[in-house]
């Protein structure tokens, strides 16, 4: 019997019981649909996260007092750890200088985050959420570009001048069509002169990158830094951004950096680092760990759905075989071998689940698209998920179809012909 004839026979067999066929495949449809939509969403999330973290620059190292990711540990252990972190010595401007003199380092920038606050120019005001004291290196490391005006110069830093560089969003909100250069703004009670405006950079994970206000690090520490405030000792502590030269491997660079800081901070060989080198790669690997966990759980749920669906298929195929006993007898009488009958029913169940798989893939696509439109998650469908979805649904049809098909093929033709 040719494949085409088999296909047609299966189709006719299933068409005879349309509703039943549809209900039976529902399990498969839902199972495959769930997997496909989840895979699409996770895949979209991955692509998004990778592009975002790529933007931050996986090559930038953040030298800080605390590690970004701390996994595990009891609550009391954590509390102890944070107390220890808050007692650590701050990094200093001298550290920045020393680091920038390292052979492997391309650039190093000082970064002193400040609590957000309101900036005012005449009657206009704006909430600045990302305020920091830096030096002339920062805008290069973090990928900003000057639109107008100038960068910080050494005197700005040494003298702690009251000058600011504004992100495009803040400049636009405060000055509208006016030229901000040389104008004075007020930020949290102190007067500053605008010396530069940055080019727009857009949005990242819901953060407006153009909502930024930069001032010399010395100015920031003089006016706003308060070491008695716990946040300034931990979350808002002074940090250093480091970028290695292009030909320097990340690992080697970090090793040099660590050694330098250990020496500068006078750590003995038996003492742990009292600082941390953070990279976005660490975030990436943590993210990967998390999503792979979700992925495995999903595969488990999906296989459960497919097994349940498969049992449904087996059940309905058994009913179908019994109902069509006479047909089996007739087919055998006109010359069908046991193998022909086996293939017929096996093909029918595979056909059923594969069509279910196809519908499921389509459904998953629709759900993924809907998520893509309705939420900020960009869903994208990897082609392998479609292939795996279809492959698995066919495999379920094959596996759960074997028993009923085998039963059909083992019938006695005489008995089968007599069946009413």
């Amino acid at each position: 019997m040719s494949l085409w004839t088999l296909l047609k026979t299966s189709y006719l067999g299933l068409r005879a019981n349309k509703l039943r066929s549809i209900l039976t495949t529902l399990g498969i449809i839902i199972g495959v649909g769930t997997v496909i939509s989840m895979v699409s969403i996770i895949d979209g999330m991955n692509k998004y996260v990778y592009s975002v973290l790529g933007d931050i620059g996986t090559k930038t190292v953040y030298v800080q007092k605390w590690k970004w990711i701390i996994i595990g540990g009891s609550q009391s252990k954590m509390r102890k750890l944070w107390r220890e972190v808050s007692r650590r010595r701050d990094l200093t401007m001298d550290d920045v200088k020393a680091i920038s003199h390292l052979e492997v380092v391309d650039r190093a920038a000082a970064f002193q985050p400040i609590f957000s606050g309101k900036a005012k120019y005449r009657s206009n005001s704006v909430d600045c959420n990302n305020v920091a004291g830096t030096d002339d290196q920062y805008i290069y490391i973090s990928g900003y570009e000057l639109d107008k005006g100038r960068n910080f110069i050494d005197q700005d830093i040494q003298l702690g001048r009251r000058v600011v560089i504004l992100g495009s969003y803040i400049a636009k909100t405060l000055f509208e069509d006016e030229d901000p250069l040389g104008k004075s703004i007020v930020f949290k009670g102190h007067k500053f002169t605008v010396i530069g405006v940055l080019k727009p950079k857009g949005e990242l994970m819901g953060n407006n990158l153009d909502d930024i206000l930069l001032m010399p690090v010395t100015t920031a520490r003089k006016f706003y830094y308060n070491p008695r405030w716990r946040p300034y000792r931990v979350w808002y502590s002074f940090r250093i951004l480091v970028k290695f030269k292009d030909d320097v491997p990340m690992k080697a660079g970090m090793k040099m950096l660590e050694n330098l800081l250990r020496v500068r901070r006078g750590l003995r060989f038996d003492q742990d680092d009292d600082f941390a080198l953070n990279t976005s790669e660490m975030l990436l690997s943590a993210y990967k760990k998390l999503t792979s966990g979700i992925f495995i759980a999903m595969v488990g749920i999906a296989s459960l759905a497919l097994i349940v669906g498969g049992i449904g298929i087996m059940n309905i195929m058994l009913v179908s075989v019994t109902e069509r006993t006479r047909e089996i007898g007739i087919r055998m009488a006109v010359g069908a071998k046991r193998r022909d009958i086996l293939y017929q029913f096996l093909f029918e169940s595979i056909f059923l689940t594969t069509v279910g798989g196809l519908i499921g893939v389509f459904l998953g696509l629709v759900i993924a698209k809907a998520v893509d439109i309705a939420t900020p998650l960009p869903a994208s469908m990897p082609i392998w998920s479609v292939i795996v979805g279809l492959g698995f649904s066919s495999a379920v049809g094959l596996f759960f179809g074997i028993y009923p098909a085998n039963k059909a093929s083992k019938m006695d033709p005489i008995e089968a012909l007599r069946y009413e």
Binding site: M1, I330, R331, M332, A333, V334, A336, R338, P413, I414
Partner: protein, 222 residues
């Protein structure tokens, strides 16, 4: 040697551990081109004999030579092969598949014989024309009368051009007039040189055949 020759066929069924003999030593010979009826009351073993002659079943003991080949020794696949190529069945209750068209029913044996679909279609239409039902080709068996259904069944039996037509009470479900038409069709096939074996309990049917083999209690009576 004859087309069909059986030697001492015995068939014993096991029913709840009790042995029930259906055939107790049947020896018959049927020549190529004969038109024979096998006649007997119900329970005589005529159906069992027909199943064995049609290669749907195997005897418990004894031999069955079909075209000089001892088919009582063959495995199931080989029996299926013989059913496909050498035997055409006509049943009392027509046994057409209700979901497919008459044409496709006639094509069915050819699909298992691996005849290409164009050839299949052509030959099936030819056969339907022969039994006078070309105009019903694209109807389903449920949409035609019993007499017509039986003629479709005969067309199906002829599909792979078998040497033997085995008919089991072919007029049993039909009224007298249509029954006669079916018998006329068999006569026509017989005149073309085909071997026809009709199993029946109806004397009116058996009278129209050239030879009657009577069976009673699993034995040939004359």
């Amino acid at each position: 040697m004859s087309l069909i020759k059986t030697v001492d066929l015995v068939k014993i069924y096991q029913l709840d551990g009790v042995e029930v003999p259906a055939l107790r030593g049947v020896s018959i010979e049927i020549e190529e081109g004969e038109y024979v009826s096998i006649m007997g009351p119900s329970g005589s073993g005529k159906s069992t004999l027909m199943h064995i002659l049609g290669c749907l079943d195997r005897p418990t003991s004894g031999q069955y030579f079909l075209e000089r080949q001892d088919v009582s020794l063959l495995d199931e696949d080989s029996l299926a092969e013989i059913r496909k190529r050498k035997i055409g069945f006509v049943f009392q209750s027509f046994n057409l598949l209700p979901r497919i068209t008459n044409l496709e029913n006639v094509e069915l044996p050819m699909t298992y014989a691996g005849v290409p679909s164009k050839e299949r279609r052509r030959r099936a239409l030819e056969l339907l024309e022969k039994v006078g039902l070309k105009h019903r080709a694209y109807h389903r068996p449920t949409e035609i009368s019993g007499g017509e259904a039986q003629r479709v069944a005969i067309a199906r039996a002829l599909a792979n051009n078998p040497r033997i037509i085995l008919a089991d009470e072919p007029t049993g479900n039909l009224d007298t007039k249509t029954g006669e038409e079916i018998m006329n069709l068999f006569e026509e096939l017989h005149s073309e040189g085909r071997t026809i074996i009709v199993v029946t309990h109806d004397p009116e049917v058996s009278e129209r055949t050239k030879r009657i083999i009577r069976i009673r209690d699993g034995k040939i009576v004359e």
